[in-house]
């Protein structure tokens, strides 16, 4: 086995898409080399051309519109870009495999998972009959699926997201590929499952020498996993270096800004480096460096010539003409932290939301999804409380129950310590509607495509706090300015705005009724890092100016570390730990919190630090485990945990935990 054997060598790759008679280049000369057992990460924001690069290698781009405009991709000396279909089919799936982002749609729902693995085996190997079946089960056990023989007979919908991604990997591995292309393989998964999948990939590289081309936007993940990193921007690689070097000494201004735009504990009290503007569209004509319009260090030269990728330090390539000055850091503005008040604004007591599970036509609900089950929470005025947890733990339901989009089945929601809004009938609820507002996760579905932005923003205001027409105009203009939108935005339609701008519109709509609480439901998770930074900065500014309290629902601990004053960690409908951010991140008391923190890739700390791996996945909320709900996955569980639900116990000032062993 030759350690340094080159598997894939891409040179000057140019891929474009036909638009009328013109061809817009999405990839403008990309080159990299992958060696045996190496993990090369291609990172960049959306629109950088990283996925197009990967798809073009396997000939997966739509034939009708995509054009390979130049370059070559030599896989063991053969040029992948110029292979005919039959030759490419022999390589695809057997010697190069691909894993996709969405494990829900990549599997055929009407075939058993075993059948889907067998299909690939039969296509590429001589195995038939029982041998194929045995190999399929072997593969399933290799990717860490428990009881592989039984699981093999199941259909995709019977598996969880993490399991499906494992099956996808099993299919990709079926023929022992030399190269695995993973396009955002863990983006749709929870952090604990992401850690499991990345561990599996690391094992493959160690044991089989499989090379991995990892495509992702998650810099923290890359920092912990990849050997080499290629940073892409607008179709070009702007920086290529070993991971350790890139993260300690980034040279290109884009890389540098990108890293500073990632929220973390260290970034608290500073404004995140938000890169103004957006990635240029492939059709935009920019003669020079494509980053120049957004670059704080750009000089007139930058806009004239395209900078070549040059080796600035050993094995560290950068495409920037100003690399001499690059060592000087891009400065960040600091913002003083303010003391927050202690006055409770919103108190949630024993909140319960059950969803009936109905089966059959006349069936009455006999089972319930315990989405939220006995949740206590206090939100103080002007503070940011982060609600953290994995998917299906019920955190979104909490948000929706607070603004009464779902009807709580029990418990109290006390506003100002006196008004219980949990069970108010709709007409009595109306005066309280304007107190709590929400910003939604998906910027594309949160605005009515057929209403002008101004109409969307003013809708709630006209309903709950009508203003005379003369004032209304001025108020709308003020709001738009506050959230950093141009004045003419009011008369445009949502599709004319980018994701980040739409989140600004969503914020303006919430602010229009002058609320005292805003529930932010994963409101930055659909955005690119640099745009997320803009929105997080804006949220902080608005809070400082208006004193609005945020309930920030997220699974992203780095955002929490940056933004939140206090953190509440949720597991299966209950809060397991709650406390001030610094305290909780430094001394997590609950085993679940510890596992979450360990599983989340971070931009600070030792990238190779040991991980705590949580076995299995979150159990079904239809039949939540007895006693402590975490006990089936807990490494410290004792018989007591399975029977007695742990009471909340106060560790230090404001830091409570529900665990028998804390």
């Amino acid at each position: 086995m030759n350690e340094n054997e080159t598997i894939l060598e891409v040179q000057g790759l140019q891929v474009g898409f036909r638009k009328g008679n013109a061809v817009d280049l999405a990839v403008r000369g990309t080159g990299f080399t992958i060696h045996r057992g190496e993990m090369l990460a291609l990172v960049g924001e959306s629109g950088s051309g990283k996925s197009v690069t990967a798809m073009s290698l396997l000939g997966l781009l739509p034939r009708a519109t995509a054009v390979i405009a130049g370059g070559q991709a030599r896989f063991h000396g053969q040029d992948l870009l110029r292979m005919d279909d039959s030759a490419l089919n022999a390589v695809r799936g057997s010697r190069i495999s691909m894993i996709f982002q969405e494990p829900m749609t990549a599997l055929n729902p009407v075939l058993t998972i075993s059948r889907q693995i067998e299909e690939v085996l039969e296509r590429h190997t001589g195995l038939r009959g029982d041998a194929v079946r045995r190999r399929a089960v072997e593969l399933l056990s290799e990717v860490g699926i428990p009881e592989p023989a039984a699981r093999a007979k199941e259909y995709p919908h019977q598996l969880s997201g993490g399991m499906r991604q494992r099956v996808m990997i099993a299919i990709a591995l079926a023929c022992g590929p030399e190269l695995l292309i993973a396009d955002e393989p863990t983006t749709a998964l929870d952090v604990t499952v992401q850690a499991q999948i990345m561990e599996l990939m690391a094992k493959l590289r160690r044991e089989r020498g499989t090379a991995v081309l990892l495509i992702t936007h998650n810099l923290a993940l890359v920092r912990e996993q990849a050997d080499t990193v290629a940073v892409m921007y607008a179709g070009r690689i702007v920086e290529l270096a070993p991971a350790s070097q890139l993260f300690t000494q980034p040279l290109h201004p884009y890389t540098r800004l990108l890293m500073q735009s990632i929220p973390s504990t260290e970034q608290r009290g500073r404004r995140l480096a938000a890169i103004a503007g957006q990635v240029p569209a492939p059709s935009e004509k920019l003669p020079g460096c494509r980053f120049a319009p957004r670059c704080p260090l750009a000089s007139p030269e930058c806009t004239q010539n395209v900078p070549e990728l040059a080796e600035k330090a050993p094995r560290h390539w950068v495409a920037c003409i100003r690399k001499e000055e690059l060592a000087s850091a891009v400065s960040q503005e600091s913002v003083p932290e303010e003391a927050k008040s202690d006055m409770p604004l919103l108190e949630v007591r024993r909140l319960q939301v059950l969803f009936p599970v109905r089966r059959g036509i006349f069936a009455r609900a006999r089972e319930f999804v315990h989405a939220v089950d006995g949740l206590d929470l206090t939100l103080r005025s002007g503070e940011t409380l982060a609600l953290d947890g994995e998917s299906v733990c019920g955190k979104t339901t909490v948000g929706k129950a607070l603004i009464r989009l779902v009807q709580p089945t029990g418990g109290q929601i006390l506003l100002d310590g006196q008004h219980d809004i949990a069970s108010l009938p709709p007409h009595a609820l109306r005066p309280f509607r304007r107190r709590i507002q929400m910003i939604f996760q998906d910027p594309f579905s949160s605005l009515d495509p057929r209403l002008m932005v101004g109409e969307s923003i003013c809708e709630g205001m006209d309903e709950l706090a009508p203003k005379p027409p003369a004032e209304r105009e001025g108020f709308l203009r003020e709001l738009l300015e506050k959230v950093g939108l141009p004045e003419d935005a009011a008369t445009r339609y949502p599709h004319q705005f980018s994701g980040g701008q739409r989140q600004r519109i969503g914020l303006a709509r919430a602010l229009a009724v002058q609320p005292s609480i805003i529930v932010c439901d994963e409101c930055t998770s659909a955005l690119d890092e640099s745009v997320q930074a803009q929105i997080l900065n804006l949220l902080k500014d608005i809070q400082r100016e208006l004193g609005i309290a945020y309930l920030f629902i997220t699974h992203d601990l780095s955002v929490v570390a940056f933004l939140a004053d206090r953190i509440a960690v949720m597991y299966l409908g209950q809060i397991v730990e709650e406390g001030p951010t610094a305290q909780l991140l430094a001394h997590p008391a609950h085993p679940y919190t510890r596992a979450l923190l360990a599983a989340a890739p971070r931009m600070d700390g030792d990238p190779k630090s040991a991980k705590i791996h949580l076995a299995g996945e979150v159990p079904s909320p239809i039949h939540p485990p007895s006693g402590c709900r975490f006990h089936p996955r807990c490494p410290h569980a004792t018989p007591e945990c399975a029977t007695v639900a742990p009471p909340a116990c106060l560790l230090s000032d404001g830091h409570t935990v529900r665990c028998h062993h804390a």
Binding site: K400, I403, R404, L405, R430, R433, R434, I436, Q437, M438, F440, Q441, D442, S445, S446, L447, D448, P449, R450, L451, M452, S456, E459, G460, M461, E463, L464, Y493, P494, H495, G506, R509, V513
Partner: protein
């Protein structure tokens, strides 16, 4: 007796003309009202910028104006057949039974009666007849036409001009298409939106109703209704409307259920916007494209269904000309040798001339109503 009198008044020309005038005024007022809204004005501007759509709109207008002309009554003074003078009673002119304006305009065409079939622009009859020649022997010849080269689309079995029939059928086709749709769409919208949005028992009721209605075969349902109400154009439209709204209703219910979960609906709810306003402002405009597509698609199927029902003897009835009856007639003509094709072709061409522009125009309207599809 009173119902009969009422029916008589309803069918009288003054009443019919009043209805036509009311409809025209109502449509104009509706369009004027829409044109004052920004959303619709932008849509109209977008629509005008599409040449193909405007051509189709012109064709549709032509069809519509023919139908309107065919709906407006016209009574001329009655003429005494024996003397050829206008009849007067006590000095007042007596009016005749009355016909539509279109009938009057097409009078020259109607007057050119032949004896039987003739090919388009033909000079002789299509069928041979036995004629006694000068030599006293019987000959089988194609007799010359009374009006040679004047029948653009030929004549039918009783020598009527086919073009005239096709033109007269436009009103029937449009009425069937529009009236059926106008009956079905509000039902489908009301039940579909309410069922989808409110869910719970409202949805259950709508669903059971839909399921029951759609489990009865359409033709059977229409037949039953026609037996109760008797044959006629309005009855047919109502029966077809009742039989056909369930499909659209289900479609709208599904789409509404999807939209109800959309974040912008949640946002509106959280901002205290009442349910009916959400339905009107957020959900209705976002399902309108489905209604439009459905409207255009059902237009053609409605006209075809009329033909099928005519074949089963449950159509508009013998007195009314329609593309359905034309196609029904063509059934026997097609089995002859040589084939008599022009009646079928005429009906087909006129239907295509209506349905195809309607489809293209409908598509363009749908795109123009969607801000995401606008080019400007």
């Amino acid at each position: 007796m009173t119902t009969q009198t009422l029916g008589h008044i309803f069918r009288s020309w003054p009443c019919q003309n009043a209805i036509v005038a009311l409809l025209l005024v109502f449509t104009a007022a509706f369009l004027w009202k829409l044109s004052r809204r920004e959303y619709w004005r932008l849509a109209a501007r977008e629509l005008r910028s599409r040449k193909g759509a405007m051509v189709c709109a012109a064709i549709l207008c032509l069809y519509a104006s023919i139908a309107v002309l065919d709906s407006v009554g016209w009574r001329s003074p009655a003429i005494d057949p024996t003397t050829g003078n206008i009849i007067r009673v006590n000095g007042h002119v007596v009016l005749d039974e009355g016909r539509s304006v279109l009938d009057r305009l097409l009078q020259p065409l109607a007057n050119r009666r032949e004896k039987t079939y003739s090919a388009p622009l033909g000079t002789v009859q299509f069928t041979k007849s036995t004629v006694k020649g000068r030599d006293g022997r019987m000959h089988r010849v194609n007799e010359p036409l009374a009006f040679p080269r004047s029948h653009l689309l030929g004549t039918d079995m009783i020598g009527q001009d086919v073009l005239l029939q096709a033109l007269k059928s436009i009103r029937t086709g449009l009425i069937i298409g529009l009236l059926t749709t106008l009956l079905a769409v509000p039902f489908a919208l009301l039940f579909g939106l309410c069922g989808g949005y409110y869910g719970g028992w409202v949805d259950d009721v709508v669903q059971y109703f839909c399921t029951v209605l759609s489990s009865i075969p359409n033709v059977l349902l229409i037949a039953a209704l026609m037996v109760v109400w008797g044959q006629g154009l309005p009855q047919l439209c109502v029966a077809m409307g009742i039989a056909s709204w369930t499909g659209l209703c289900r479609l709208l219910r599904g789409e509404t259920m999807r939209l109800r979960e959309a974040d912008f609906v949640s946002a509106a709810t959280a901002q205290g916007v009442p349910g009916w306003k959400i339905l009107l402002r957020h959900i209705l405009p976002n399902v309108l494209h489905i209604v439009l597509i459905n409207l255009v698609l059902r237009f053609s199927s409605e006209v075809l269904a009329e033909a099928a029902l005519t074949y089963l003897g449950m159509g508009v009835g013998a007195g009314t000309m329609s593309w359905g009856t034309m196609i029904n007639d063509a059934r026997t003509e097609l089995t002859r040798n040589p084939v008599i094709w022009w009646k079928l072709c005429a009906a087909f061409t006129f239907m295509l001339g209506l349905v195809l522009p309607a489809n293209i125009f409908g598509d363009a309207v749908r795109d123009a109503l969607d801000p995401r599809m606008r080019t400007q």
